[in-house]
């Protein structure tokens, strides 16, 4: 069997007395789009933060590309090819759209300890950045200051930044959060085009998006994996239905 791109082994994390990640074991195969769903407060973002290195698990291992990265700080994981988007839009608002993406290109192309030369006119940075913007449909907004973009455009920019990192694994933390119906639809189209190019771990609330995109789905409830399987299996699982219906009745 091929070595999975990402393997989470028995991750545990608690804040104070609250268990937010409980014995989570997940494997992500190459080229797979794996979605993690779960009701609010299930610990989805906490999980993503552990994978990307913003917080450290209490116990368990995170293996990325065959290498144990559990103790590695976030920048080094990113340098290994682990890209992420944020649930709350995280861009550089005073930079232009193009510069936001070019910075991501810069991150993976050579040293940034270069003190001379105008970075904003380096073709080697701008070209791949434009290509990434093109893929998410933001090419015509390249010169706009990122902070002035509409909400859905910011989500798209977030995606473009992740793309420009040429990731070996893309972590997507609720990319549709707050986007309108049309914007969501556009993002789904973009994501389905990207599917297969690199593995993605998608955390999402929007069930339409999840079932349209995911190869496999894991259901997270109270920090614990309830079940994993293909969309059909998950859809039919009575425990999932119970968990979701229960959640809605509250």
């Amino acid at each position: 069997m091929v070595e999975p791109v990402l393997r989470l082994e028995a991750l545990h994390k608690s804040f104070g007395g609250l268990m937010v990640t409980r014995d989570v074991t997940v494997e992500l195969a190459a080229d797979e789009l794996h979605a993690i769903i779960g009701p609010n407060g299930a610990g989805k973002t906490t999980l993503i933060n552990q994978i990307s290195g913003l917080i450290a698990p209490d116990s368990g291992r995170i293996v990325f590309g065959g290498r144990d990265v559990t103790a590695l700080p976030a920048p080094e994981r990113a340098a290994l090819g682990l890209a992420r988007s944020f649930q709350i839009t995280s861009i550089l608002p005073a930079f232009s759209v193009l510069e936001n993406v070019a910075l991501a290109v810069q991150a993976r192309s050579g040293s940034s300890f270069r003190f001379f030369g105008r970075a904003s006119s380096e073709e080697a940075l701008n070209k791949p950045a434009m290509a990434a913007l093109d893929e998410v449909g933001l090419a015509d907004r390249a010169d706009v200051i990122a902070g002035r973009l509409a909400h859905g455009e910011k989500r798209a920019l977030e995606l473009a930044i992740a793309l420009a990192m040429e990731p070996k694994l893309l972590l997507l933390d609720e990319p549709m959060a707050g986007a309108g119906r049309e914007e969501s639809q556009r993002l789904i189209t973009v994501l389905s085009r990207l599917k297969g190019r690199f593995p993605m771990l998608l955390v999402e609330h929007d069930m339409t998006a999840v079932f349209a995109l995911a190869d496999r789905i894991s259901v997270l409830i109270y920090g614990q994996i309830l079940t994993s399987g293909t969309p059909e299996e998950v859809r039919a699982d009575p425990r999932v239905i119970a968990a979701y219906l229960g959640d809605e009745m509250e």
Partner: protein
């Protein structure tokens, strides 16, 4: 451009034969170098250093101590002045950059104060009283600082060089990462940048430029004292760059010129010049966002909006503005009892 004005200034001054003016402008330019160094951190990295005078002091003391030991060649003293300041910046930076915001301001102040008291305890070198420079720096037997005009242009050269260096830094790959770290450190980390290393580098460079300013200052005043490092000096540097408008290297220079020139002029005018200068600062801050450069931009926009062509237009427009201001003030006063939310 400002530099041309600086360059032409001595020629104009020779007609009036005001040697002290040359002296004043030389001092202004030296502080402008330090202000540029500080603006690099504050304006582009949101790292408000409240101990920047320490770097000036270290540079100055390097010159003073070497001169006291009969070493005056700048082949030795210049690299040592810059190097010592850079080293101090590097060492303290590793600690300071662990903190953020106001805590960063205060920890840089702490190190500035330590340097200040340390200098005051250097009994062999004058202690609190400071020490008079035995001789100005020389270069392989020449004495370029002996000639006032030559010294003036050397300082101008250094200022232009620093300006150019800072500009290049800001727009370089490095500068892009450094600016990004101010905007959103979390995002930068997720991109794979170790923000700390970039900030430490910038901090060290800024300290080195401060050392250069200190080197020049010691030679310009023939004197070195702990007062160069007092927190007042650090505070003044901050005021200079805010006054000019931060995040814009021109602002650092404009602010320095305005601050020192205004101080000089007002103190000639009246003994109690601070009673005018203080409120003036307050008014500038209240009226203008982005310091003097911001004010100038606002004024230009206002000129265009009000379509001012003659003195009469100007007076009429000022009248309109004042009436508006009065109306707004009254309104906000009436609203005092109403609650206001903060974003």
């Amino acid at each position: 451009m400002m530099f041309v004005a600086f360059a032409l200034f001595p020629i104009a001054a020779t007609f009036g034969a005001e040697a002290y003016l040359i002296d004043l402008f030389r001092r202004i330019m030296i502080f402008a170098i330090a202000a540029l160094a500080l603006d690099l951190l504050v304006g582009y990295g949101a790292l408000v250093s409240f101990g920047h005078a320490a770097f000036i002091g270290i540079g100055a003391y390097a010159v003073g101590i070497l001169a006291a030991s009969n070493v005056s060649d700048m082949i030795i003293s210049l690299p040592l002045a810059i190097g010592a300041a850079a080293l101090f910046a590097y060492l303290t930076g590793t600690i300071c950059l662990r903190t953020r915001g106001v805590y960063f301001i205060m920890i840089t102040l702490a190190f500035g104060q330590m340097a200040y008291f340390f200098a005051g305890s250097l009994a062999p070198y004058g202690g609190d009283d400071g020490l008079t420079l035995a001789m100005r720096s020389t270069l392989l037997g020449f004495a370029p600082f002996k000639h006032d005009l030559l010294f003036y242009y050397i300082v101008l050269g250094c200022l232009v060089g620093c300006y150019w260096l800072c500009r290049a830094l800001v727009i370089s790959r490095f500068g892009r990462v450094f600016r990004g770290a101010r905007e959103n450190p979390t995002r930068m980390a997720a991109l794979g940048f170790d923000v700390f290393r970039y900030q430490l580098t910038a901090y060290t460079i800024s300290g080195a430029l401060g050392g250069l300013a200190g080197f020049l200052l010691a030679n310009a005043t023939d004197f070195v004292s702990p007062a160069y490092m007092s927190w007042h000096r650090s505070g003044e540097l901050i005021v200079m760059i805010i006054l000019g408008g931060i995040g814009n290297l021109n602002g650092a220079i404009v602010g320095t010129v305005a601050f020192l020139l205004l101080g000089e002029w007002l103190s000639d005018l009246t003994e109690n010049w601070e009673m005018i200068f203080g409120p003036l600062l307050v008014v500038i801050i209240l009226l203008a966002r982005g310091g003097l450069l911001g004010l100038a931009a606002q004024m230009a926009a206002w000129y265009r909006r009000e379509n001012i062509l003659s003195v009469g237009d100007f007076i009429a427009a000022v009248g309109r503005y004042l009436r508006q201001l009065a109306r707004r003030t009254i309104k906000s006063t009436l609203q005092t009892s109403r609650s206001r939310s903060r974003g």
